[in-house]
């Protein structure tokens, strides 16, 4: 099989999934379900973001949720400033600031009166933070597990600052009681079809853009860095620049996901950039297949979907966490490249069978059961 045919098949797979996702609102009109699915799609975007840096460039960012949370807060700040303050009556000051005896809107809240600024900041702030961290980390040629430790520490620091500065951030409660996002006459309410489509379209675009990026020269160099950093350096490439680039892109995508998440959840909370969710992203990525953008996104959708339905069902109320844990172990043990690699495994087996048949003497294929049910 030629690699061109493979690439075509991959494009077809990506397109099929995207079409399916975009078709969902035709069959589901219930606002609650749309909201729930939109939430899963947002996780898909977030997981895709980690796949960009971890799966393709080998940078295990345990602080991926930092960008997510910052994006979420930027969006929440803009929406909060447009909320009619029903709890306080004070002129345009968010309710939690009044409770904390703040009397004037702090300077860094001021520009969030503008949606344009907020949308830019939702991506720009995570990118900026990532750039600063990445600058020091990758210049110093830090790699492997130490990147993971540093990014995790960064996440914890940002989280603590947000909780501690409750006068300006709403602290532990986060920013709640938000107005509905509205641009060009379209309302993006939490339960609306428009919000679902927004998430679905953004996921679709990112899947294809990501694919294009990874097949570009830059993408190939990144994958080469993942496989052997030193060798790429000896070829004369500035490894740190490439690494920082994808680290920033990944943070920006996470920020975008965070902004969507605020729309879907109707609040921003410090738990959005806490350690548990950050580690979940790694799990989604690993379960779905970290070296595939589609795999990572589907991993998030499948894991959170199964998690949601398991914990909803009466039978599994006490055991759902256990079952999830067991599932993760099974996947990691038997499909180390994630669920998406099922396709790979099946293709390899068929290929082997065909080659064996062509050679006339089937040697090892005797145990392989025909797998007509899956894949095409």
């Amino acid at each position: 099989m030629t690699s061109q045919r493979q690439a075509l098949h991959r494009l077809g797979g990506y397109a099929a999934v995207c079409v399916l996702i975009l078709l969902v609102p035709l069959f589901v009109s219930d606002g609650y379900l749309l909201n729930k699915f939109a939430r899963y799609l947002v996780f898909g975007i977030l997981s895709l973001a980690l796949s960009l840096s971890w799966g393709y460039a080998g940078i295990l960012n345990l602080g991926q949720a930092a960008g997510f949370g910052l994006g979420s807060y930027c969006m929440a700040m803009a929406l909060k400033l447009r909320t009619i303050p029903i709890q306080t009556g004070a002129g345009g000051l968010p309710d939690f600031m009044v409770w904390n005896n703040v009397h004037t809107l702090p300077w860094f809240w001021q520009p969030f009166h503008s949606y344009a600024f907020a949308l830019l900041a939702g991506i720009g702030v995570p990118v900026l933070v990532a750039f600063l961290i990445g600058w020091f980390v990758f210049r110093a040629r830090v790699s492997g597990v130490y990147v993971a430790i540093i990014t995790l520490a960064m996440l914890v620091v940002i989280n603590l600052v947000i909780i501690d500065q409750q006068r300006y951030t709403g602290g532990f409660n986060g920013i709640t009681d938000l107005t509905t996002f509205k641009v060009f006459g379209v309302e993006f309410g939490a339960y609306s079809v428009s919000t679902y489509y927004l998430a679905a379209v953004i996921l679709t675009l990112l899947l294809f853009l990501g694919l294009a990026l990874m097949n570009s020269k830059t993408g190939l160099i990144l994958q080469a860095i993942r496989d052997d950093e030193t060798r790429v350096r000896y070829f004369g490439y500035d490894v740190a620049n490439y690494q920082n680039f994808i680290f920033c892109v990944s943070a920006g995508v996470a920020g975008l996901a965070g902004m969507l998440y605020t729309l879907v959840m109707e609040f921003a909370s410090p738990t959005f950039l806490a350690v548990p969710i950050s580690l979940s992203i790694v799990i989604w990525c690993a379960v779905g297949g970290r070296a595939s953008l589609l795999g990572a996104a589907l991993g998030a959708i499948v894991v959170t979907g199964v998690q949601g339905s398991l914990s909803d069902s009466k039978t599994f109320l006490d055991t759902w966490m256990l079952i999830m844990g067991a599932l993760f172990i099974v996947v990691v043990l038997f499909l180390p490249n994630g669920l998406i690699s099922i396709v790979d495994v099946i293709r390899d087996k068929r290929e082997r069978r065909r080659l064996a048949a062509a050679a006339g003497a089937p040697r090892r294929t005797a145990v392989v059961a025909p797998s007509r049910s899956a894949a095409r």
Binding site: D312, L317, W320, R376
Partner: protein, 417 residues
């Protein structure tokens, strides 16, 4: 072109399988089911069974379930059974919001009982407001909230502090040190405490907030030694309470001279630290497990029988229990016809119930609850000896410290002038 040989082709079949697994709820049942259909009244039970606040929230879940079982054993409400839909929001605000949506929209519950932390209450509020449903919140909290979609059955600051602060000043002195966990509840309680102290001519010699989960108090204890307050007013929560009490004792401080008076230490925290570390300190709350009333004896006995001999009841699980009975009375008043959350809310106003702590009543003015504040002194046994109790029920005033603002049935309003 040799791009990445290990890349996979993706057939549409995988996509289909994955999508089906990802969206298992496409075929959800009865999306248009009315409230209280088929002789059943569905209610949501939304307390975390896993995660950081699982221990305390499990006790709330238990109290709620027990109350529902009692109601059903006594024939239900107007012949209809109460059916609890139990969820585990895993101590995570986002999951709280997700599960609340399922209960309100997916399951069409007529009310939901839930939440321990303010953060989780704030996270579910938009859901209840959007769908005009009703949330029953049993925890003592900071007040300053007036949602038309919440029934508040826990204490607000004026109920916990109005008797406590004068009593402390009278018995121990006017110098207070305020220590709390760093979030909105302790800050708001301390705002109230400072107002009361000012009226009594008291003095705050120190005010400090530690991060949630903080367990290293030696610096704080040194400040206690330096400033020598008469009372340490504590709104530290969770595991930090245990650390604070143990380190207090290890530092050789004496509760007789410098007691800690807490709004947040319950039987559960005392059990976790060991009674000897709590002995001599005080808590103000409407309910203690040791309270001597026929209703409480019955409650404690039933709780132990249902959930295990070693289980304790506390000032959050008691409201979690009695609020279900208040709900029952409200629904009973509505008869068999249509039951909407708005009807339940209206019918609940003014309802009285003989709770373990005494006769409680939902205030029709603000949907908070009249309660019976008590002051307990902790004993080595892990139980509190009740040394003061309010002579009458105390009105809930969620905006007590803010004279310009009043909670009304239509939400918060500003008083002019």
């Amino acid at each position: 072109m040799s791009i990445d040989r290990r890349k996979f082709l993706k057939g549409t079949a995988t996509a289909g399988v994955a999508a089906a697994a990802g969206f298992p709820h496409i075929w959800i049942k009865n999306a248009s089911l009315a409230y209280a259909a088929g002789g059943e009244i569905k209610v949501g039970v939304l307390y975390s069974l896993t995660g950081t606040t699982a221990i305390i929230e499990t006790s709330l879940n238990h109290a709620t379930i027990m109350a529902i079982e009692e109601i059903n054993a006594a024939g239900g409400i107007n012949g209809m059974k109460v059916v609890p839909v139990i969820e585990d929001p895993a101590s995570d605000p986002a999951t709280f919001a997700e599960k609340a949506r399922r209960l309100v929209v997916g399951e069409k519950c007529v009310s939901v009982f839930g939440s321990y932390t303010s953060a989780s209450r704030k996270a579910v509020l938009p859901v209840f407001e959007k769908y005009h449903n009703l949330y029953w919140y049993p925890t003592l909290y900071e007040g300053r909230e007036c949602s038309t979609n919440v029934m508040y059955t826990g204490a607000v600051p004026n109920q916990q502090q109005k008797d406590l602060i004068p009593w402390l000043v009278k018995n121990f002195g006017k110098k207070f040190y305020l220590i709390g966990s760093n979030y909105i509840y302790p800050k708001e309680e301390n705002n109230v405490c400072k107002i009361l102290l000012k009226q009594l001519g008291g003095e705050v010699v120190g005010e400090e907030y530690v991060p949630l989960g903080h367990s290293e108090f030696s610096a704080v204890i040194n400040k206690f030694k330096e400033t020598q307050p008469n009372v340490i007013f504590s709104t530290v929560v969770g595991d930090s309470v245990v650390a604070l009490h143990r380190q207090y004792k290890a530092a050789g401080l004496d509760p007789k001279k410098m007691p800690m008076a807490s709004l947040t230490t319950s039987e559960d925290e005392v059990a976790a630290m060991g009674g000897e570390f709590a002995a001599g300190h005080f808590t103000s709350a409407p309910y203690f497990m040791s309270y001597d009333s026929p209703e409480n004896h019955k409650f404690v006995e039933a709780f132990k029988k249902r959930w295990g001999k070693d289980k304790t009841t506390n000032f959050v699980s008691e409201p979690a229990y009695f609020q279900v009975h208040l709900f029952k009375q409200a629904v009973a008043k509505l008869g068999k016809g249509s039951i909407t959350p708005a009807d339940v809310r209206k019918a609940a106003w003014g309802q009285e119930y003989k709770a373990p702590e005494g006769l409680v009543k939902i205030d029709p003015k603000n949907s908070h609850t009249y309660l019976w504040p008590k002051i307990g002194e902790w004993q080595t046994s892990g139980q509190a000896k009740i040394i003061e109790e309010s002579k009458e029920w105390v009105e809930p005033l969620p905006y007590w410290a803010y004279p310009g603002q009043v909670c009304t049935p239509d939400g918060m309003v500003e008083k002019k002038g």
